[in-house]
C-alpha cells in the first residue's frame, strides 16, 4: 500500500456514501438486546421503502448512552432513537421522509453528549468497525504513513513526550518517557503489548474502543513499534470480550491484507505483526509483569520491578506495554500535533479521558471529557444525577484499586493528581456512582473480597493480608468488632500497601482507606465496646507493683 492507495480508498469510500445514514449500535451492550435484529429489520425496511440508493444502514460501535440501548441514530437529522426493537424499524425509516414518529428518542443535544470531547471515541458510534475502508475514510493510517515516511523514531518519541500524554491504564506514567526508555534499551528484538485486560468491575471503556474502532489500536501500536524499534506486537484481551476479540481478529486480517501490517509497510523497511493473546480470567494480569508472564503462557504472577519491562520484558526483551486508550490517543496526536493535544486538559494531565459511567445514576454509558472536568459536571450534568430523586453520596473511581470520593468533593477536577490527593486514583476509567442507600463499609468489603479472590498468592502481604482485612471487615459488618479490630485493620492497610509486590496488593487497601477517610463514622457506628477496655500499644501496661 502507498499513500496514493490510502487516498484512493478514502475517496472511494466517501464517494460511495449515501445521503442518509442510519447508524445502528453493534457493540456488546446493544447487541445483547438484539441490535443485530434491529439492523436487519432496518435494512429490510429500507429496501421495502425503495430507499436503498439513498439510505445506508450502518452497523457502528458504541453510541455511548448504553442504558437506552439499542440505539439508532439518523444522519444528518440527528434523531436519536432509544430502546429500539426490530418492530420499530419501519417507523424509523418512515420518519426519514419527514413522517412524524412517536418513537422514544433521546436528545442528542443534552449535556451527556454536548459536554463530551472526543479524541479516543471520535470514530466510536460513527464508523463501521468491521471495515478497514471506513477507518481509512476517517483519515485512518495517515499518521502511520507520515511517521514511517517523514519521521525518525526519535521524532515520534519526542512528539509523544511533547504531547504530555500519560498512560491511561491507571498509574498515569508519562507515555513518551516510557517509549523513550524502550527505544534506548539495547536489544535486537523488542515487543509491543497492548493491555486490553480490562478487569475492573464496572469498567467497559476499553471494550467499547476495541469493539468500535479496532484499527485505531492497531495504528497506535504500529506507530509505537516504529518509535521503539519493535516488530512484534501482542494484544492481551480478556476472554470475556468475544466481540472485541472477533473484531480485532477481523481488523488484523484486513490490515494484513492491504499491507498495513506485515513486512515493508508503506514500502518502508518497517515490519510489524500483531498477535492476539486471550486472557483467561485473572485480574492480576492487568499488572504489566503478570500480563507478560501470561503472554508467555505461564501463571500470571507479577515479579519485582526493576528490571522494568522497558528494559527486560517479554522473554527478557525490552517491551513496551500501554493500555488500549493510550494507544487510541497516538494516531490523533500525530495527525493533529503535540501542541493541539497538550492544549487540552490541565497542566499535568493532558488530553481527554474516557469514563464508563455506571451505578446509581440516570445516564449510564460511555463519556469522554477533557482532563480537569469537575466530577460534578460528569455525574450531575452529564450523568443526570442519582435516579428516583436520590442524592449522590460518593463516586467510586479506579475500581478495586481506587477510592470513594464523597459528595463534598464533587467539585474536584478529574486529573491524576487531584484524585490521588483524595485517596483515589484515576484508574482505567470506571466511575461508579453511589447514593445515600449505599453502605460504605459494605462497599469496602466488596472490593476487598474482589482483591482477596484475585490475589495471585505470590507475595505474603497481599495473599494473607487481604484475607485478614476481609475478615476484619466482615467482623465489623457483623457488629462483632471492637476499636482494637479497627486499629488492626488500619495497620494492615498500611502494611499491605507498603509491602506488597505488585499494584494489586499495593492498592488493595485503597477502598478501605478512602472510606475510612470520608466515612469513618459508618465504621465506628458498627463497633462494639471492648468490655475490658482496649489495651492497644497506646495504653501502657500498668506497672507491676503490688495491688493496694
Amino acid at each position: 500500500m502507498t499513500l496514493n492507495d490510502l487516498h484512493q480508498t478514502k475517496e472511494a469510500e466517501i464517494a460511495a456514501r449515501k445521503k442518509i445514514v442510519l447508524r445502528c449500535c453493534q457493540a456488546a451492550g446493544c447487541t445483547s438486546s438484539d441490535s443485530k435484529g434491529v439492523k436487519e429489520r432496518l435494512e429490510k425496511a429500507v429496501a421495502e421503502a425503495g430507499l436503498q440508493n439513498e439510505v445506508e444502514v450502518r452497523g457502528v460501535g458504541c453510541m455511548k448512552l448504553c442504558c437506552e440501548g439499542p440505539l439508532v441514530q439518523a444522519d444528518p437529522s440527528d434523531a436519536l432513537y432509544v430502546k429500539v426493537t426490530p418492530d420499530n424499524a419501519p417507523a424509523i425509516v418512515a420518519a426519514l421522509k419527514g413522517g412524524r414518529s412517536t418513537l422514544a428518542q433521546a436528545d442528542p443535544h443534552s449535556p451527556f453528549f454536548t459536554l463530551q470531547q472526543s479524541i479516543v471515541l471520535t470514530n466510536c458510534g460513527v464508523i463501521d468497525p468491521e471495515r478497514i475502508e471506513a477507518y481509512i475514510a476517517a483519515d485512518g493510517y495517515q499518521a502511520l504513513h507520515e511517521v514511517l515516511v517523514e519521521m525518525t523514531p526519535k521524532d515520534v518519541v519526542d512528539t509523544i513526550v511533547k504531547s504530555g500524554l500519560r498512560g491511561r491504564g491507571g498509574a498515569g506514567f508519562p507515555t513518551g518517557l516510557k517509549w523513550g526508555t524502550v527505544a534506548k534499551s539495547p536489544g535486537v528484538k523488542k515487543y509491543i503489548i497492548c493491555n486490553a485486560d480490562e478487569g475492573d468491575p464496572g469498567a467497559f471503556m476499553d471494550r467499547s474502543v476495541l469493539e468500535s474502532d479496532p484499527h485505531s489500536i492497531l495504528e497506535g501500536m504500529a506507530i509505537a513499534a516504529y518509535a521503539v524499534g519493535a516488530d512484534q506486537g501482542f494484544i492481551y484481551v480478556r476472554a470475556e470480550y468475544p466481540l472485541a476479540i472477533s473484531r480485532l481478529h477481523n481488523a488484523i486480517r484486513q490490515a494484513k491484507r492491504v499491507g498495513l501490517l506485515g513486512s515493508g509497510i508503506f514500502e518502508s523497511p518497517f515490519n510489524f505483526t500483531i498477535d492476539i493473546r486471550i486472557g483467561a480470567g485473572a485480574f492480576v494480569c492487568g499488572e504489566e509483569t503478570a500480563l507478560m508472564a501470561s503472554v508467555e503462557g505461564k501463571r500470571g504472577t507479577p515479579r519485582p520491578r526493576p528490571p522494568f519491562p522497558a528494559e527486560r520484558g517479554l522473554w527478557d526483551c525490552p517491551t513496551l506495554i500501554n493500555n488500549v486508550e493510550t494507544f487510541a490517543n497516538i494516531a490523533p496526536i500525530l495527525r493533529r500535533g503535540a501542541d493541539w493535544f497538550a492544549g487540552i486538559g490541565t497542566e499535568k494531565s493532558k488530553g481527554t479521558k474516557v469514563f464508563a459511567l455506571a451505578g446509581k445514576i440516570q445516564n449510564t454509558g460511555l463519556i469522554e471529557v477533557p482532563m480537569g472536568t469537575p466530577l460534578s459536571t460528569i455525574v450531575e450534568h452529564m450523568g443526570g444525577g442519582a435516579p428516583d430523586g436520590g442524592r449522590i453520596k460518593a463516586v467510586q473511581t479506579g475500581g478495586p484499586s481506587g477510592g470513594c470520593i464523597p459528595r463534598q468533593h464533587l467539585d474536584t477536577p478529574v486529573d491524576y493528581e487531584s484524585l490521588t490527593k483524595l485517596g483515589s486514583i484515576m484508574g482505567s476509567g470506571g466511575m461508579i456512582v453511589m447514593d445515600e442507600t449505599t453502605r460504605m463499609v459494605d462497599v469496602a468489603r466488596f472490593f476487598m473480597e474482589f482483591c482477596m479472590d484475585e490475589s495471585c498468592g505470590k507475595c505474603i502481604p497481599c495473599r494473607a493480608g487481604t484475607v485478614q482485612m476481609h475478615h476484619l471487615l466482615e467482623k465489623i459488618l457483623a457488629r462483632q468488632a471492637t476499636a482494637r479490630d479497627l486499629a488492626k485493620l488500619e495497620e494492615l492497610c498500611d502494611m499491605v500497601k507498603n509491602t506488597s509486590l505488585c499494584g494489586l496488593g499495593q492498592t488493595a487497601p485503597n477502598p478501605v482507606l478512602s472510606t475510612l477517610r470520608f466515612f469513618r463514622h459508618e465504621y465506628e457506628e458498627l463497633l462494639q465496646p471492648d468490655p475490658h477496655g482496649p489495651r492497644t500499644p497506646a495504653t501502657p501496661v500498668p506497672p507491676l507493683t503490688a495491688a493496694n
Binding site: R484, D530, P531, H532, G533, P534, R535, V541, P542, P543, L544, T545, A546, A547, N548
Partner: protein, 182 residues
C-alpha cells in the same frame, strides 16, 4: 512493700506449662518468699479472688467455663500473661478448628462414640460438663493480654527470667529463643 498477688490458671492444655513452672525448683522457694499465690490448680482455692496483680494463663479457651472464668480473671487482674503455646496460639487444642464449624460434633463423636470401649454415649447432662465452644481461641482473642510467654512448654529458665524481671519492678522483656514457639 506488700507482696505481689499472683495467680495461675489452667484452661485447655496439658498442664505441661504448670509442670514447667514446678521445674523452677529452688526458685519456687525464693518466689514463695516474695509473692502470694492466691489462685492456682496447685493450691486449694475455689473462687478467683479480686485484686490479683498477675495471672499466668495456661491453655486455650475451649469451653464455656473457660470463657466465663477468663472474663472474670480479666476483670479482677491487673496483668495477664499468656503462659505457653496453648494460651498464646491455641496450639494442639485448637487443631479441632481445622475440622470446620461443626468440629464440636465431630470431636465428641470421635472421643465418646467411635473410640469408646464400652457404653458409647455423649455426656449431655446439663450443668455438669461445660459445652465446647465452636472454635478454640487463644486467650488474647477473647480479652486483652499484657504479656506473652510462648513455648510448649515455656522452659523453666524463661519463666524464671520473666518472673525475675516482674519482681524487680521492671517491664519484662524476653527476646530471642526465650519466646520461641514450640
Amino acid at each position: 512493700m506488700e507482696r505481689l498477688k499472683i495467680a495461675t490458671v489452667w484452661f485447655g492444655g496439658c498442664a505441661g506449662c504448670h509442670m514447667s513452672f514446678l521445674d523452677l525448683d529452688e526458685f519456687l522457694i525464693d518466689l514463695a518468699g516474695l509473692v502470694d499465690l492466691v489462685y492456682s490448680p496447685i493450691i486449694d482455692c475455689k473462687e478467683y479472688p479480686e485484686n490479683v496483680d498477675l495471672c499466668l494463663i495456661e491453655g486455650a479457651i475451649c469451653n464455656e467455663d473457660n470463657l466465663e472464668l477468663l472474663h472474670k480473671i480479666r476483670a479482677r487482674t491487673k496483668v495477664l500473661v499468656s503462659f505457653g503455646d496453648c494460651a498464646v496460639t491455641g496450639n494442639v487444642p485448637a487443631m479441632r478448628n481445622q475440622l470446620g464449624p461443626d468440629n464440636v460434633a465431630n470431636v465428641l463423636q470421635c472421643a465418646y462414640i467411635e473410640h469408646a470401649q464400652e457404653n458409647p454415649r455423649r455426656p449431655s447432662t446439663a450443668g455438669i460438663v461445660p459445652a465446647l465452644l465452636p472454635r478454640v481461641m487463644p486467650v488474647h482473642e477473647v480479652v486483652a493480654v499484657e504479656y506473652f510467654l510462648p513455648g510448649c512448654p515455656p522452659a523453666a529458665a524463661n519463666i524464671k527470667a520473666f518472673l525475675t524481671q516482674v519482681l524487680a519492678g521492671t517491664t519484662p522483656q524476653l527476646s530471642g529463643r526465650q519466646i520461641k514457639f514450640g
